[in-house]
């Protein structure tokens, strides 16, 4: 349970940049479908890249509790995929109604 909280904390720290990027892409492409698609692909990539360049030391916060960088990234990507699929379903429902 406690480890899950650490994964969630890490994932939350990637969300702001991810969603700014995803919404921006959707606005440029004029397609709501791009929000979930970008939030599963380019958004996390941009967020993780930013962490790698500007917030690299934050990883120690998680290392000290036994979590590896690879595990953090994989779990965060899984959270993004789950959220993205949910959003895709919601948009599909919204456009068919």
């Amino acid at each position: 349970m406690n480890q899950l909280l650490f994964y969630w904390t890490f994932h939350k720290s990637t969300l702001t940049l991810n969603w700014i990027f995803s919404v921006a892409i959707a606005m440029v492409m004029l397609s709501p479908w791009m929000i979930p698609l970008a939030s599963m692909t380019g958004g996390p990539l941009i967020s993780l890249l930013y962490k790698e360049v500007a917030r690299k030391n934050d990883y120690y916060f998680y290392f000290n509790r036994g979590l590896s960088k690879r595990a953090l990234i994989v779990v965060s990507l899984l959270f993004n995929v789950a959220t993205g699929i949910l959003l895709l379903i919601l948009i599909q429902l919204w456009t068919t109604l």
Binding site: N2, L5, F6, T9, K12, S13, R55, N57, D58, Y60, F61, F63, N64, R65, G66, S68
Partner: protein, 228 residues
């Protein structure tokens, strides 16, 4: 039985420069090991290899005799204080303490005149010295058996340095602790063992003369170098 971590046969190079050459280091519960060395001598590199986040050309790490390549992944084995802040800026100090020590430990943790004002503050809003103090205290309060402190006193006010030294001493009754610091005076009056990284090798230091001999400090006369 006391917990022991050993790191053996460590070889690490950056490019053509070999910074660590066949290093052996043993740390037991109750040890406060002062790791000394000039800038660039490989102190942080050695600590990061020991923690398990940096690879080496060769290394053997054992915890209580059991080989372990990545000690940081072993539950409650080891913690590392890096030179720069590690609590993510978007977290409040309280949240970081909750995650590390549990909600029940929060009240006791902030029952400290230096930490009480920071409780609800985000890490990004704390000064370097305040954050350093909180981070050291946080790691010393974890159940980890070994704590590696890389320049813990940097940015701390003198009064906080004394408090931290006291807390390190108290924590060492149940943990093994390594600390490095460029202000070696701070290391000298707290550690109970000393090692010096020199030319890639690790030398055991028993007195001030040996530090002079290895070129770590100048000759004693008139320099204010403290005795052990």
């Amino acid at each position: 039985m006391d917990d022991i971590i050993e790191i053996d046969s460590v070889i690490k190079s950056f490019g053509t420069k070999q910074v660590l050459t066949d290093i052996y280091l043993k740390l037991s519960q109750g040890d406060i090991l002062g790791l000394l060395g000039r800038n660039g001598s490989g102190k942080s590199t050695l600590l990061r290899i020991m923690f398990g986040i940096l690879d080496a050309e060769r290394k053997f790490i054992r915890i209580n005799g059991e080989v372990n390549d990545c000690p940081y992944k072993k539950k409650n084995a080891i913690c590392y204080l890096p030179q720069h802040q590690f609590i993510p800026g978007n977290l409040t100090i309280e949240k970081a303490v909750e995650l590390y020590l549990g909600t029940t430990a929060v009240k006791a943790f902030f029952n400290d005149e230096a930490l009480a004002p920071m409780q609800k503050r985000k890490a990004s809003r704390c000064s370097d010295g305040e954050l350093r103090y909180a981070e050291i205290k946080l790691l010393l309060n974890t159940p980890a058996k070994f704590i590696l402190l890389d320049e813990p006193f940097t940015g701390l006010a003198p009064i906080r340095i004394e408090t931290i030294k006291q807390q390190i001493k108290e924590a060492s009754t149940t943990k093994g602790i390594i600390l490095t610091d460029h202000d070696y005076h701070n290391v000298l009056n707290i550690a109970n063992r000393y090692c010096l990284l020199h030319d890639g090798g690790l030398k055991t230091i028993r007195n001030t003369e040996e530090m002079v001999r290895w070129g770590y400090i100048p000759e004693k006369k008139g320099t204010g170098v403290p005795e052990f």
